[in-house]
Symmetry: C2
Subunit: 355 residues, 2 copies
């Protein structure tokens, strides 16, 4: 494999010294970019784009070509590839978000679910990882990812997005055994899937627990964090002679950082409701932190974006262990020039904190 030309991102995740704070952006390959919209139009729809390794590679690299400051690429894919590979039939309805043709409602449904084999059943993702890794040619590291078991379970039980998780929480509280059976199967599937991505070339992995923050503190521990712990325990932690860092990101999980930091993950993703300085004090040296600017700040002026980047850098303070990011994905309406202001500000303003 080609040597890595920029390893700032991996070094910060391991709290090793860096020259400036590394930066990337959740959903950096996305609809706010005209070049992304052009590729997506070429592909036809989102699922076709995601399942085409060449086009997935193309959109993964687009933000890197536009913004030279970006310190990591992230696989272009969707969190719902696993339920799709389990046979649920993922599709997207315009303006409706993801939907599944089959819905999980009973223990019998759960017992019938297969555990997908990454190369056999999710080959398009593994091929995308290999293609992107080859095309990156060592520019920056490649991040692989998956949805968390709880997050995947909500979509599988609801049949799509949800406001109040009516069916999935009814199952969690009325039939916890069924929910545990589903989550156990998902944890095994996610472990195999992320290990497949690591073998194919992913140099760090992130677990997106988008809906863990919808749970009570007690239910979070039992139904989300316990299964992320199981995944962390089963992941390949060294590959190609390097540590493969794991980032856990529970949106709305700011109250639970201490227990997340105990999992053995290298880093925690923070949404913007956490003060990153307080978060650092709470987790101590156990983990690095990734985040955490409110994505809606990108609707403000470039000067205001710069001020907010400066505030967050100051809140984190001196030393390594911070990967700058948004606290959630960039939204489609953002002006790409505002994203540029964000990336530039992180590198320009962070140097003094690493002197």
């Amino acid at each position: 494999m080609t040597a890595l030309k920029n390893d700032r991102f991996l070094r910060a995740l391991l709290k090793q010294p860096v020259d400036v704070t590394p930066v990337w952006m959740m959903r950096q390959a996305g609809r706010y970019l005209p070049e992304y919209r052009a590729t997506r139009a070429k592909a036809g729809d989102f699922v076709s784009l995601m399942k085409n390794p060449e086009l997935a590679c193309e959109v993964t690299l687009q933000p890197l070509d536009r913004y030279p400051q970006i310190d990591a690429a992230i696989l272009f894919s969707d969190i719902l590839t696993i339920p799709d590979a389990m046979g649920q039939g993922l599709y997207f309805e315009t303006g409706e978000g993801p939907r599944f043709r089959k819905i999980i409602r009973s223990l019998a449904d759960i017992e019938a679910l297969p555990i997908p084999d990454p190369e056999q059943d999710l080959g398009y993702v593994m091929d995308a990882v290999r293609t992107i890794r080859r095309e990156l040619n060592g520019r920056v590291p490649l991040i692989g990812f998956s949805g968390s078991p709880w997050t995947l379970a909500t979509y599988m039980v609801e049949g799509g997005s949800s406001k109040d998780f009516r069916q999935s929480k009814a199952m969690l509280y009325s039939d916890p055994q069924a929910m545990h059976a589903l989550l156990g199967k998902l944890a095994d599937s996610v472990t195999a899937y992320l290990n497949g991505q690591i073998r194919a070339g992913a140099q760090a992995v992130q677990i997106f627990d988008s809906w863990g923050g919808s749970l009570s503190a007690a239910a979070y521990q039992e139904f989300s964090l316990a299964y992320m712990q199981k995944i962390v325990n089963g992941l390949i932690r060294e590959h190609e002679g390097r540590r493969v860092p794991v980032i856990l990101f529970t949106k709305g999980g700011g109250l639970w950082l201490e227990s997340m930091a105990e999992t053995g993950a290298e880093a925690l993703g923070l949404d913007w409701t956490c003060d990153i300085g307080q978060a650092r004090a709470r987790v101590g040296d156990k983990v690095a932190l990734q985040g955490n600017m409110d994505p809606s700040v990108l609707y403000a002026t470039p000067a205001a974006i710069r001020t907010e980047v400066a505030r967050i850098l100051k809140a984190y303070g001196a030393g390594s262990g911070h990967v700058f990011n948004l606290g959630h994905g960039i939204t489609p309406q953002v002006d790409p020039a505002h994203a540029a202001a964000f990336f530039e500000a992180v590198h320009e303003l962070s140097a003094p904190y690493h002197a």
Copy 2:
């Protein structure tokens, strides 16, 4: 005024001894009740129902008649009465939530806004409070309420509900002076409005900061909590010879309880992501706590609801200072029999904690 027959709710807010943990439910007068749907159909639409003091009284009392355990009534109204009285023109589109005919976009728009006089401009609310108080005839205390300045500002600037608060956060970050001008005006309006409700008969007041949890920790302090502090400072705190407790409820505010407890409010509302035992340890004796069952637990079986009520009572532990509630409003799809299981469980299972 008639003597209060059941003052458990007010006593718990002041951490005075009680026999059982008092209980009420956010949105207890709402669409899950067939009798509510009948009254609403009679009124025509939501705004007509809310602006009719007799019908507002009727729906306020409905849950009390159905569930004898309920320890407090809450004024039936909407959080958006103030912007409506400021001339923004509130209406509801089916399935779309609240909308405003006029939208605030500039400092000039803000400077032109009047501060509503409660009796002159919001007389229908004051009349509803007087009517409900008379009809309650001392059964339980009556809670008045308002939206928080930040929450009202988001609707006024967006023109309705929002996913990412694009316009309001752009104003907050790009033109903080304009946002502060708007919030200052709203804080004055909310103070006058809640004092009007107290004079009309509200025996406690709750400030609903529904969208404070959408802010960064720093922005929350400056743009939401500071204005709730201003309101707390300006409220009538004694009326009819009794303390009028104030409850602050920031949904998603679990990380900020310590600073909320410093405002001088008697109680904090908790959503379900906080462990109530940990919250109690964090705020100490400064405030009582209200909450915090996940409303989606009401989709589970009555047995599961009872188990979750027991878990929360145990987490809070012995002694007064807890008002049981959901962590957010009850949803329209809940079976009224499940709400009954909730109310019954709180009184039945809490007695040992007050022995």
